[in-house]
């Protein structure tokens, strides 16, 4: 087979880092980021908020799900620089005054995880799902949570936890 990519490409020198401000879990966090720094890497590596997980890093698993201006998104496919000024909510920002968020409590009540790696993404995604208000049935919960993969297969308990929290909201 012919070899692909035989032409060397010129290297672009690293541009100056850009100053941005993210409002993360209610607190203003000034940051200096390169254009290619993802929101996920900014949260984990620059702000030490390691609750948000890096799974596939390609938008396929949902482990990196956070809320930006109230909407759930994949932080691995988001460049931090494009979100200058945005409000970001991560798993660390859900509990209030030592009380777990109803979804966090529901995940415990229903044993909705095994290894726990996908759980922060599952919970942030479910917060977004409830805010959207489009899921009324179990089928709709399943469909609208399909962007969050759980390789331990805790799906039935995850759905039950979300149902419980929906009932409370």
């Amino acid at each position: 087979m012919a070899r692909a990519r035989t032409v060397a490409r010129p290297t672009i020198p690293a541009p100056e880092k850009t100053s941005i401000v993210l409002v993360v879990n209610g607190a203003e966090r000034p940051l200096k980021v390169a254009p290619w720094t993802t929101l996920l890497d900014a949260l984990r590596d620059y702000l030490d908020l390691t609750g948000t997980k890096k799974g596939c890093d390609h938008g396929q698993c949902g482990a990196c799900t956070v809320l930006v201006d109230g909407r759930r998104i994949n932080s691995c496919l988001t460049l931090a620089v494009t979100k200058d000024g945005a409000h970001v909510t991560t798993i660390e920002g859900l509990a209030k005054d030592g009380t777990l968020h109803p979804l966090q409590q529901a995940f415990i009540d229903h044993d909705a995880f095994q290894c726990g790696y996908c759980t922060p993404g599952q919970i942030c995604s479910a917060v977004g799902l409830i805010a959207e208000g489009k899921a009324k049935t179990v089928d709709e919960i399943r469909e609208l949570m399909s962007g969050n993969i759980c390789r331990c297969g805790a799906y039935p308990n995850i759905v039950a936890a979300i149902e419980q929290a929906m009932g409370q909201s």
Partner: protein
């Protein structure tokens, strides 16, 4: 990801000016496909021009009874917009059949049109691919081609267009509004995406220095007799093996107008004027649906692993037309196909 520069466009004119000044630059809006391709080293822009804050985010009625969708309207907002839910439910259904809610919250209308094939070889920079590296060869033709095209293929490329939304837009006869250094122009949806021919590196007829500003829908929305039926390897969050957007306008049992667009089978959403014409004036019944399906697939050609798609598409077309005629569109949450 390679190093690149970043700049924000202050308005539409500034965006067009900036892209004209740097042939290696690309626009970024939602970034769901572009960032992924940059991580895979398939896309290597010298600069990203951020258009995500431009005021192209409205869904509004047009003077001729249609709807104009700003290029930056997120896929999720579009699917749930009252004008779309009430007047173009096939479009909303197709959008909700694709990706995940997180991705739909990020992805823009214009970006959905410009997303690139998910052919494994296009993504794998260690293998030849004419779309990624013109002239290097096609690894899919004699490789793993289960997901690949059965219609309109060329010796250079058998990739498919991955969008669900675009299949519905094709069926609805949408128009794409673009702006470039020479001013604005409108491209009909049928002319927007290209077949691969010997230039598979070009997915669309959009010029590299042009920006999509809006997608316009004509007044006819087929709100009663429509469906979007998507067949895939798992029930959710997977690209189509075959999908069908089917819309009918009925007068009693007779078909006054018919639209059938196929996804997952070609380099662009596939429509066939002959097959749609043959349905017009006929009774909406299984025999006529089978005849239309046969016509749509008359030139279909399978490869080593995807010949099954020809039968699958034929049945999916008949099923979709049946759902449309009955007025029982496919649910995108309860996946039982009736």
């Amino acid at each position: 990801m390679i190093n690149f520069e970043y700049a924000r466009a202050s308005d539409v004119a500034d965006a067009v000016r900036q892209i004209a000044g740097d042939p290696g630059a690309k626009f970024i809006a939602g970034g769901t496909n572009l960032i992924d391709l940059m991580k895979e080293d398939v896309e290597r822009p010298s600069r990203l021009i951020d258009i995500s804050r431009l005021p192209l985010n409205k869904v509004e009625e047009t003077a001729d009874g249609g709807v104009r969708i700003g290029a930056l309207v997120p896929n999720s907002d579009l699917a749930y917009h009252p004008l779309i839910e009430q007047r173009y439910p096939m479009l909303g259904s197709a959008i909700l059949a694709g990706a995940s809610q997180q991705l739909r919250n990020m992805a823009s209308t214009g970006g959905n049109l410009l997303q690139r094939t998910r052919c494994y070889y296009f993504y794998d920079t260690a293998t030849p691919c004419n779309k990624r590296e013109p002239g290097s060869g096609c690894s899919a033709i004699n490789g793993l081609n289960r997901m690949h095209a059965i219609l309109g293929t060329s010796e250079a490329c058998i990739a498919t267009h991955p969008s669900d939304m675009c299949v519905a837009l094709a069926a609805l006869d949408a128009k794409v509004q673009v702006i470039g250094p020479a001013g604005e122009r409108t491209i009909s949806f049928a002319d927007f995406h290209r077949l691969p021919w010997d230039t598979p590196q070009r997915d669309t007829n959009l010029e590299p220095n042009e920006l999509i500003t809006a997608v316009e829908l004509p007044a006819q929305g087929f709100r009663t007799n429509y469906t979007y039926l998507k067949i895939r390897d798992r029930l959710s969050y997977a690209f189509a093996l075959v999908s069908v957007a089917a819309a009918l306008e009925l007068e009693g049992a007779r078909i006054k107008e018919a639209r059938v667009a196929l996804g997952g089978v070609a380099h662009k959403p596939w429509r066939d004027a002959l097959a749609e014409g043959a349905l017009r004036g006929q009774e909406a019944n299984p025999a006529n649906f089978r005849r239309a399906a046969h016509m749509l697939l008359r030139d279909a050609k399978g490869f080593a692993h995807n010949t099954f798609k020809i039968d699958l598409a034929r049945r999916a077309i008949v099923r979709a037309l049946t759902q449309a005629a009955r007025g029982t569109p496919q649910s995108q949450s309860n996946k039982k196909i009736r």
